[in-house]
Amino acid sequence: MIRAKDMRLGEKMLVKEVRLSGDALKRTADMGLTVGAEISLAGIAPFGDPLLFEVRGFYMAVRKDVAADIFVSEK
């Protein structure tokens, strides 16, 4: 299990655990980033932060500190 922030570009993984709380948890979950969802790293902003993830067929920008609390593993 690795942190979503450490994924490689284009790599497809499954969300295993989300250790967020408060606004960040609610927002990500409402948008479909839940345990069991397929996730892939689609892009990185020029300064290395935020990251762009593809989840459930759309793109979602998330900061590194949030992505650090999302744990993923291979399918």
Binding site: R19, G22, D23, A24, K26, R27, T28, A29, D30, M31, G32, T34, V35, G36, A37, A42, G43, I44, A45, P46, F47, G48, D49, P50, L52, R56, G57, F58, Y59, M60, A61, V62, R63, D65, V66, A68, D69
Partner: protein, 638 residues
Amino acid sequence: MKVALVGNPNCGKTTLFNALTGMRQKVGNWTGVTVEKKSGFMLNDREVEIVDLPGTYSLESFSPEEAVTERFLENERPDCIINVADATNLERSLYLTAQLISKKIPVVVALNMADRLKASGLDIDAEKLSERLGVDAVEVSARKKTGFAELTAAVKRKTPPRKEIVTPSELRSQERVYKAVSALLNGVIVKKPAKSSQITAVIDKIVCNKFLAFPIFALFIYLMYFVSIQTVGRFMSSRVEWFIADFLGGAAGEFLTARDASEWAVSLVVDGALSGVGAVLAFLPQVVTLYAFIAVLEGCGYMARVAFIMDAVFKSAGLTGKSFVPMIVGCSCSVPAITSARTIENPEERSLTVTLAPFIPCSAKLPLFALLAGTFFPENPFIAPSMYLIGITAVILIGSFYNAFFRKGGESCFILEMPQYRLPKIRSVLLELWDKVKSFLIKTSTVILAASIVMWALNYFDFSFNRASLGTSILAEIGKAVAPVFAPLGFGNWQAVASAIAGIAAKENIVATLGVLSGNGAVETVFTPQSALSFMTFILLSSPCVAALHAMRVELGGIKPFLKAVAIQFSTAYAAAFLIYRLSLAYTANAKHFLIIVAIATVITVIVIIMRYIVRSVRLKRKTGTAESSVYSKAEKS
């Protein structure tokens, strides 16, 4: 019968609303275009009133604009809900559908952009979906205006949901709901990335590229300003102004004089009304062009990318990339900029954005910059653009300062959907432009005309209402009384101060008033090059016009935070103008003073950086501490 239009941001809800009602409403590819609910009657059935609600991912409110939707459904209980679902993004769209169904209000799912899905070789089984959801599902295309008859028929049936997709207790777990939705979609649609999302990925590879992102962004901004201000602005403005002030003014003057009108009446029309309004109208062409660029960038989806690439820059100021969009909108007008800050979820961040957004010069401030830079620094093309640099520096500095010393809440989070690129509809861009032009013309013919006449009267009469000679007018007296306050900034003369006061009504008035007060536009008598620079900085950062002040008060939700924001703006403006004036004075005259000021500025900067570092590291320690402990507990478990 009342129908609510509900859907995710970017699902084409507003386009559908416009198509169904024929109403003119702004359509943007940036979440938060529909900031407040709007309503209209259906074109083919006048009995059906449709209310367009702000886009939301979930019914449980997160940002204030999303709360509008929840409150409306709870309090108004509409007869039916049209749930607009993006067919190319069904899984997430149906998450909201599941929540809507639980409200026990009749729901019709409008599968928007079904044509787009088909174009990418996929198909959707609306009947199967409708059966599984327990509510009617109709394929529509808001852009091509298809499927409206079926949609209307389904809405009029007002069938309540036949079943629940998830139980009320399951509804509280996003994971369960997504699992249910995902299972439900099995066989309804073949899951494969849509063609357009591949195009989006390709474009994003370029515009969000590590090395290309900023040059491309800079190019867009440069193009925007080159075309609207340099090219169109320069070509059109002098002609419009000549037409109104000289041609119309001259004709009106002759006409009135020939009919023995008194001297003051001629002056009122020619010097007060026409020259004041002319100075402002001159500037309409470039505002329109600037608006057109922003509307296109917003409509195609590039603004979300700007937020994405700029986020890291704003993070240090305690803001997110989302705050950058209000700042770009602010280049044309601060009022929509302040209103668009509503999409920012964190209340502290939102207030900060509302306070800082007016630091970005709105287009109404540009004529002043153009006038002063053109008069005092004709050889230096960087003076006017440097105002943007000063504005953005002020945003970051004041933001960091606030973040380091006053911030109550925790770290902000930045989570944003990147919509797929789409070609903006020319019609909606034109409609939006027309709305802007209309409001500009209304503003010119009311607020600015009135302010021009008041300023003219204050300048024409003295306190006993006789014709004032230069320097004895009411305005001069007010200016003289206040001027000493601004003496340290280099523009402690009444003309400059009076113009700044006139600018509170509308920033366009500053140039007009300066023109009237300095006697036919001889601004060289009012400023030195250094004080001109200082005056520009002060106007750039001090409180915006009445309209923007009103917007600030509404968004900050109270008189106390509003006064605080105005105080922050004024003191920032005063301090920055002071620094700029003293620095430029020292730069041109006396190197000793220059060194002293550099020293002071450096000391201040160092103190701020050190304090920020301390606060940050304390906060970081707290954060990593908890993160580590949770990793350990996890390790122990496994």
